[in-house]
């Protein structure tokens, strides 16, 4: 079985992971699911792999021997906006995941996820469903709540601007944070179940800081930088 995109071409995945066993494990699961996987152990290898064309999906670890995955994601986002990006994380902690989200990643993949779950997650991602975990949703909604306007020190953790989120999107995040399924959230909020993934995609896009100047603007807006 080969996973194919809309054009019938096989779906290409660039897997960037410096730990060899983890890399094998993920690669096995993805290859078995029919994806075409190129793997890279360092940032340089990954960038070299990109010369051969854009992959459909980028799965990257954040800590790489020669750099940070964040840089790769940001570069990817700018050069190939259509590529879906996901972070590979051992713990799924918000520190790494949120910073990846702000540069354009949509969600994360746990390194110890079961092979079937790995394949499913990537399939959903390609289908336009950006997964979001309860703990990430929780982090985001806590940020929307606890943003004291004149607080001297910024809240701990990565910088995140939640100002663009609509109340509906925040409601959806609350539902996810409390462990409700998409169907339950949809019925609570009077939505169609199919629209929930779209909302989540929007949430990711809104949390993304697109350019350096925008990042500066956001920082000023949040009082992190004083002009």
């Amino acid at each position: 079985m080969t996973e194919q995109g809309e054009t019938g071409e096989p779906i290409t995945i660039l897997l960037v992971e410096d730990d060899a066993p983890t890399c094998w494990r993920l690669q096995d699961a993805l290859v078995k699911a029919g994806y075409e996987v190129r793997s890279a152990g360092t940032l340089a290898e990954a960038q070299q792999a990109l010369t051969g064309g854009a992959p459909r999906v980028l799965l990257t670890d954040l800590r790489l021997p020669d750099g940070h995955g964040i840089e790769l994601i940001r570069e990817m986002r700018q050069r190939f906006p259509d590529t879906e990006i996901m972070v590979i994380s051992a713990l799924g902690d918000e520190e790494s995941v949120i910073s990846a989200i702000t540069v354009g990643a949509t969600g994360y993949l746990l390194k110890d996820a079961f092979p079937t779950d790995i394949a499913t997650t990537v399939r959903d991602l390609v289908a336009g469903h950006s997964p979001i975990s309860a703990s990430i949703a929780r982090f985001i909604v806590r940020r929307t709540q606890g943003a004291a306007p004149n607080s001297a020190e910024p809240p701990p953790g990565p910088v995140l601007n939640t100002a663009k989120l609509t109340p509906r999107e925040i409601d959806i995040l609350w539902g996810i944070a409390k462990g409700f399924s998409y169907a339950e959230i949809a019925s609570h909020l009077g939505l169609s179940k199919q629209t929930v993934p779209g909302h989540i995609k929007n949430i990711y896009r809104k949390l993304e800081v697109h350019t350096r100047s925008e990042a500066v603007f956001e920082a000023v807006q949040q009082g992190l930088i004083k002009l």
Partner: protein, 649 residues
């Protein structure tokens, strides 16, 4: 008063005490002696000079039908009848050449009243001048002599001296001459003996008002009230018009004029209170003479008040002055402060003046019958009033500085408090950090540590596959749980349960077990602001254990988690139930069973015991029911999570 002085030596060892008293009293007495001498000299200097060139001293006096030549100043006997007053006849020479400025007749001192006639025509009747009718206010009189009355050469002057007892009549030298020569002497005497007392009285009345207000505002300090009353009496005496015989109608005025004994008793009372002593009950005796004069005078009418005043009042005034001197002397010995010294000196001056007046009345010394005690008394009261005002102002300053000190103290206390608060905060933070570290260590030890050790053990024994994988997965799961529990969930347990659901679903998916998630109320479980990470960890581990049991030992196909809120009238509480459709297990005896399933049962039993103890630690209740159709774990959350670990403590 004497008991105040007597009390002092009895309270302390006599010898040093006596020496101390002597060392303080002797200088004071010497000072008073000096003041006495100064006062006597001062009074001598005060004697106003009169135009002696125009003195008429040789008169012929007709008294009681007897005519004899007299030399002024002259005393007549005391009398109570106005009929046939002593009648003085004299002569003076007038020359027309001197008439340019007009002539006057000037009488520096007389008591009680005079009617002066020149060449048979009355030019002056002092009874119409209220001031002149006061025997205590040495009022002079002057009258211009109409030019038409004067004859070139010798002229006759006659003086009728009206006397109302008990004082003797007195007529000082009479002066007749050009008005310009008379006026300055007259003006000087008027200033000293008429204007000055009025000024003092006005001053006194103002102080009386101020002191009365002070007393009204500070009732617990009667000293101000006493002095105010004394001053009011003095003012009344100064301004009440003295009744002139034969009019006997104004009895009240008469007794008010004789109120000096009451006034002086009040001053003694003031002195005692001012120096901080209690007014003794028998001190009321001091008021008796005043009251007697008042009552009898009111009933009897003139001249009784005057007689009583002379007989009873003046000695009382003297006694009071003496008592006052004793009081101040005691105060000087005890307090050695400026106030007692000042008042003591003032009292000495007044006492000297009083003695001088007594000597005058008794004709022991001759000073033209000028009474000075009233004047000096007024001056003393004014001095006391000024002193009180000064004390009041100083008290205000003290209040100000006290307020300033208070502000400083409060600021200091505030700073100390801030510092100690910061220290306390720092300590609390350190303690919290230490607690957190302890908790983290325990949590890691409970889960991750054990699992890692078990992985090591399994690898060393050459185990392959499933058991190492399980242990490693369990370790990872526990690590995530510990990290997850550190997050601030704001007391909303549902946020922790949401993550748990996600992890559990992923964990169950390979086993093909369905996780039913039922949240009965929109809120789920109530908010717990007191919820701490270690509570969350215990709850999540209980739920993990329940799910693990269902998966590993009960072979369940379906696990249902129900989250609900109940309220039995004492506030809402949450209940989390984990139900499976597995084969259940025997609950009897958590100890390992003896049959072949010993190991499995033992593990389950340990797991169950763990669950119970974890529930107990965070104040929750755990119920287990299990039979062949499945197992049900019911975790009832407390209404309030305990602050400290209930089992570990």
């Amino acid at each position: 008063m004497s008991e105040i002085a007597a009390k002092a030596p009895t309270t302390a060892p006599p010898r040093p005490r006596r020496r101390l008293i002597a060392s303080r009293l002797v200088p004071y007495l010497l000072l008073q002696l000096l003041i006495v001498i100064v006062t006597i000299f001062g009074l001598r200097l005060l004697q106003p000079s009169d135009p002696e060139d125009f003195a008429l001293s040789d008169f012929s006096a007709r008294e009681d039908g007897l005519t004899r030549p007299v030399t002024l100043p002259h005393f007549t006997s005391s009398r109570y009848s106005l009929a046939d007053p002593p009648f003085y006849t004299g002569a003076f020479t007038f020359r027309n050449a001197d008439a340019a400025s007009g002539w006057s007749v000037y009488l520096p001192r007389f008591s009680n009243a005079v009617e002066v006639a020149v060449n048979g025509v009355v030019v002056l009747d002092s009874r119409r001048d209220a001031n002149a009718n006061r025997p205590d206010r040495n009022t002079p009189e002057i009258a211009a002599i109409p030019a038409s009355l004067l004859r070139e050469g010798s002229n006759e002057i006659t003086v009728r001296l009206f006397v109302w007892g008990p004082l003797k009549g007195f007529l000082d030298t009479v002066y007749v001459g050009p008005d310009a020569a008379m006026r300055p002497a007259y003006e000087t005497r008027t200033l000293l003996f008429v204007t000055l007392p009025v000024v003092f009285s006005a001053w006194q009345s103002i102080l009386a008002v101020i002191l009365a207000i002070m007393w009204l505002m500070r009732r617990r300090e009667p000293v101000y009230g006493v002095l105010a009353v004394a001053m009011v009496l003095g003012v009344v005496q100064a301004f009440v018009p003295p009744p002139v015989p034969p009019a006997a109608t104004s009895r009240l005025a008469a007794v008010l004029l004789a109120s000096a004994p009451t006034e002086s008793a009040l001053v003694v009372m003031f002195g005692v209170l001012f120096f901080g002593w209690r007014w003794p009950r028998y001190g009321a005796l001091l008021f008796v003479p005043g009251v007697v004069v008042f009552v009898i005078g009111l009933i009897g009418g003139p001249p009784l008040p005057r007689i009583l005043f002379l007989v009873l009042g003046i000695p009382t005034v003297g006694l009071c002055l003496f008592l006052m001197a004793c009081v101040t002397a005691t105060a000087v010995v005890r307090r050695q402060d400026a106030a007692s010294f000042t008042i003591g000196c003032a009292v000495t001056i007044v006492l000297v003046c009083w003695i001088q007046d007594m000597l005058t009345v008794l004709e022991i010394v001759s000073n033209d019958r000028i009474f000075v005690s009233r004047l000096s008394y007024s001056a003393m009261l004014v001095a006391i009033g000024a002193g009180l005002t000064w004390r009041f102002a100083r008290a205000l300053n003290q209040v100000d500085s006290f307020a300033g000190q208070l502000v400083t103290r409060v600021r200091e206390a505030e700073q100390r408090l801030k510092a100690s608060f910061a220290r306390e905060e720092e300590r609390a933070r350190a303690a919290a950090l230490a607690n957190e570290r302890t908790r983290l260590m325990r949590d890691l030890h409970d889960g991750l540590g054990g699992q890692l050790v078990s992985i090591v053990a399994l690898s060393e024994r050459g185990h392959e596959g499933a058991s190492i994988t399980d242990a490693a997965r369990a370790a990872l799961k526990d690590l995530r749980l510990v990290i997850d529990s550190m997050d601030d969930i704001g007391g909303d347990l549902m946020l922790a349960l949401g993550s748990w659901r996600e992890r559990t679903t992923a964990q169950l998916r390979p086993h093909d077990i369905t996780l039913d998630w039922r949240v009965a109320t929109p809120q789920g479980v109530p908010l717990h602001p007191e919820l701490r990470p270690w509570h969350v960890i215990q709850i999540v581990r209980i739920l993990d254990e329940a799910v693990t049991n269902a998966v590993k030992h009960a072979q369940a196909r379906r696990i249902a988690v129900t989250i609900d809120t109940f309220d039995a009238g004492q506030g809402p509480y949450g209940v989390i139930s984990v139900t499976d459709d597995g084969q259940g297990f025997a609950l009897k005896g958590f100890a390992p069973a003896e049959n072949g399933e010993a190991g499995r049962n033992g593990q389950t039993a340990r797991g169950l015991r763990n669950m119970k103890s974890r529930a107990a630690r965070c104040g929750a209740e755990l119920d287990l029911s299990s039979d062949a159709s499945g197992t049900r774990v019911r975790l009832q959350l407390p209404q309030r999570f305990p602050d400290s670990d209930m089992a570990a403590g």
